[in-house]
Amino acid sequence: MTGKIEEDAIIEVEGLRTQFGEAVIHDNLDLRVRRNEILGVVGGSGTGKSVLMRAIIGLKEPSAGTVRVFGEDFYALKPEERLAVERRWGVLFQGGALFSSMTVAQNVMAPMREHLKLPDSLATDIAAMKISMVGLPPDAGAKFPSELSGGMSKRAGLARALALDPEIVFLDEPTAGLDPIGAENFDRLIVSLKESLGLTVFMVTHDLDTLHATCDRVAVLAEKRVIAIGPLDEVRRSDHPWIQEYFSGPRGRAASSAKSERHAPRADRD
C-alpha cells in the first residue's frame, strides 16, 4: 500500500522547515499529495497553511527539507528548469490576484502570451473557453477586475490558473468571502473541473462545507507539522484535541450533517 502511494505522489514534501526570522512555522513536515485527488489543507489561524502552499510553489524558500513536484526537487532546479515546472501548475490566490490593468480575457491570455507563442486569435478562443468553463458569462471577458464581484474575481482567477492546462491547481481559500450559494457553486465547479480535466487540487481552506463537498483527503496542520492526513471520516476519528474541536464543534457537526442531505441532489446535477 505504502509503495503505491509513493509511486502516485505528485507532490512530496519531506522534512520541511520554514521560518520567518526566529519564528519557525513548519518543522520536519512531511506531506504527500497523490495524483488526481483533491487535498484539503486545514489548520488553525497562523499554523502556516498558506505558507506551506507558498513553500511548494516556490514563493517561500524553506530553510531545510525538500519539496519534490512531478518528481523534481524544485529548489535544486536551475531557473529555466523551474520555469518548466511552474508552467505545469496553476495558482489561485486568495483575492483572485487578477492584474488590475487588464480585462479578464487579457488576464487569462497573459500566461499563454508569456509562455506559448500563440497567435492572438487562438489565444482568444482558448481564453473564451476557459472563461466559459469556470462559469463566467461571455461578456465578463471584457470587464476589468474592479468591475467584478468577489465570486466572479475568484472564477476569473481560476480561469487564469487553468490557462496553460496545468496538472496541479493550488487554491488558497477559494471560498473565503463568498456567500453560501456562491461557495457551493464554486465547490461544485472545482469537483467537475477536477474530473473533466484530470486535475490534482491542493486546497487551503477554512470552510468545513467545502471540505465535505470536495476533498478526497484532508491534511490537518498543527504543531508545525501535518498531524493527520487521510479521508475526512478517518481524520475525524483522530483524538487530537484540535481535530476533535474542529470537526465536532457546532459548525463541524452542521457541515457534516449537511453533507448527507446534499449528496443526492448533487449527483443529479452532475
Binding site: L116, K117, D125, I126, S132, M133, P138, A142, K143
Partner: protein, 376 residues
C-alpha cells in the same frame, strides 16, 4: 513528442481530417492559420475528424476540433470526431459546451469622440474638484472654530507628532536644497554681472531672490512632495481599510481628528522651514561670493544690511502659512477621495502633489502682484 499535424482527404463529398501528433496549446500556434483557412473552405460540408493518431490532447486541442466541427456543418449534424481514446472523448465532450467566443476588450469608440469626451470630463471634474476643495476648506475652518471654542478637543499629541514628522524631519533636506540654490544663484549672477563690472550686485540678487521667493517656494515644494503626499497616502490607506467610516460610526469627526492636526502642524512649521531655508540660501550665496569672487563675508553681510529692506524677508515669511494650509488641505482632501483600490491611492497621491504645487505657484503669483501693488 511530435508537433500537431493533419491531412485532409475528400471522399464522396465527405471531408476526412486525420490528425496526428500532440494537439496541445503550444503546438497549435503553428497550424492555427492553416486550420482557419480550412474551416473557411469547408463551410457547409460534412466533416469526419479522425483523432486515432493524436498522442496527447489538451483542452486547447479539444477546443480546436470542436470549433472545426461547428464551422463545417451546422445544419446536417452528420460531422463527428472518431478514433479517440475514452479519455480523449471525455475531454472533448467536457470542452464542447464551452466553445464560444467572448469579448476581450471593452468596445472602442471613435477616437475623436473619446478625445472630446475626455476633455469635457476633465473640465467638469476640475470644476467639481475646485468646489469640493473649497467645501473642504470650509469644513476644516468650522472644525477649527469648534476647537477654538472648546480647546480641550485639540489633539495636541497628534499636532506635535506631525510637527516633528513634517517639520523637523524635513529640515536637513530643505536646508541643503536652499543652500545649493543660493550658491547657484550667486554663481550664475556673478558670471553675468561681471560683464557689466557690477559683481557687487550679486549680494542684492541673492538677498532679494532667496528671501522673497526661493526660500519659501523651496520649502513649499519639498513639503508638498514629502508631507502632502504622505498625508494623502496615510489618510487614503485609512479610507481603504474603512477606518474613516469606523471613526464616523463612533462619532469622531475625521476632519477634526485627522485633518486639523495636520493642517495646524504644517501651518506652524512652514514658517520655521522658510526661515531656515532663507538663512541657508543666503549663506550659500555668501559662500560662493567669498570663494569665487572677492567679496568678503563681512562685506557681504554689511551690504545685505544696507541694501536689502527687511520687507523682503517678511514677504517670504508671510506667504509660508498660506502655502502650508493649501498643501495640507489638498493632501488631506485627496486622501479622503481615495476609493476602493490601491490604484486609486497611487493616483490620488500623485494628484495631491501636482495640485498643491499648482495652487502654491498660482498663489505665489497673486502674492507677487499684491505686494507690488501695495509697494511693500
Amino acid at each position: 513528442m511530435q508537433p500537431a499535424a493533419f491531412t485532409i482527404d475528400l471522399d464522396d463529398g465527405t471531408l476526412r481530417l486525420k490528425a496526428t501528433g500532440d494537439w496541445q496549446a503550444r503546438h497549435l500556434g503553428a497550424i492555427d492559420r492553416e486550420l482557419r483557412d480550412f474551416e473557411d473552405d469547408a463551410v457547409g460540408r460534412e466533416l469526419i475528424i479522425d483523432i486515432s493518431g493524436v498522442e496527447r490532447l489538451d483542452t486547447a486541442g479539444a477546443m480546436v476540433f470542436e470549433r472545426m466541427l461547428r464551422a463545417c456543418d451546422a445544419r446536417t449534424g452528420a460531422s463527428k470526431i472518431v478514433g479517440g481514446s475514452p479519455a480523449q472523448a471525455t475531454l472533448i465532450a467536457n470542452v464542447a459546451p464551452h466553445v464560444a467566443p467572448c469579448d476581450v476588450e471593452p468596445a472602442r469608440r471613435n477616437a475623436f469622440v473619446m478625445m472630446v469626451n475626455r476633455f469635457g470630463q476633465g473640465l467638469f471634474e476640475g470644476y467639481h474638484a475646485a468646489i469640493e476643495i473649497l467645501n473642504f476648506v470650509g469644513l476644516t475652518l468650522t472644525a477649527l472654530m469648534r476647537v477654538v471654542k472648546e480647546p480641550k478637543r485639540l489633539r495636541v499629541t497628534s499636532i506635535f507628532w506631525h510637527m516633528e514628522e513634517a517639520g523637523i524631519n524635513a529640515m536637513p533636506i530643505v536646508g541643503l536644497m536652499s543652500f545649493m540654490i543660493g550658491a547657484v544663484v550667486a554663481f550664475m549672477g556673478a558670471k553675468i554681472l561681471r560683464l557689466f563690472n557690477a559683481e557687487v550686485f550679486t549680494v542684492e540678487l541673492v538677498g532679494i531672490s532667496v528671501l522673497r521667493e526661493f526660500g519659501v517656494l523651496l520649502a513649499a515644494i519639498l513639503v508638498a512632495g514629502r508631507s502632502g503626499s504622505a498625508f494623502t497616502a496615510s489618510i487614503g490607506a485609512m479610507k481603504i481599510r474603512e477606518e474613516i467610516d469606523a471613526m464616523k460610526a463612533l462619532g469622531l469627526d475625521p476632519i477634526e481628528t485627522l485633518v486639523l492636526p495636520r493642517a495646524i502642524a504644517l501651518v506652524l512649521m512652514m514658517p520655521v522651514l522658510t526661515f531656515m531655508a532663507s538663512v541657508l540660501g543666503v549663506i550659500g550665496g555668501g559662500l560662493v561670493a567669498a570663494t569665487a569672487m572677492d567679496i568678503s563675508p563681512a562685506f557681504f553681510v554689511g551690504r545685505l544690511q544696507e541694501t536689502i529692506a527687511l520687507s523682503n524677508f517678511w514677504v517670504g515669511l508671510i506667504k509660508a502659512p498660506f502655502f502650508a494650509f493649501v498643501i495640507a488641505i489638498i493632501g488631506c482632501y485627496q486622501g479622503m477621495e481615495v476609493a476602493g483600490s490601491s490604484e486609486s491611492l497611487g493616483q490620488r497621491t500623485t494628484l495631491s502633489v501636482v495640485q498643491s504645487l499648482f495652487v502654491v505657484i498660482i498663489l505665489d503669483a497673486f502674492f507677487a502682484m499684491f505686494f507690488l501693488e501695495i509697494d511693500y
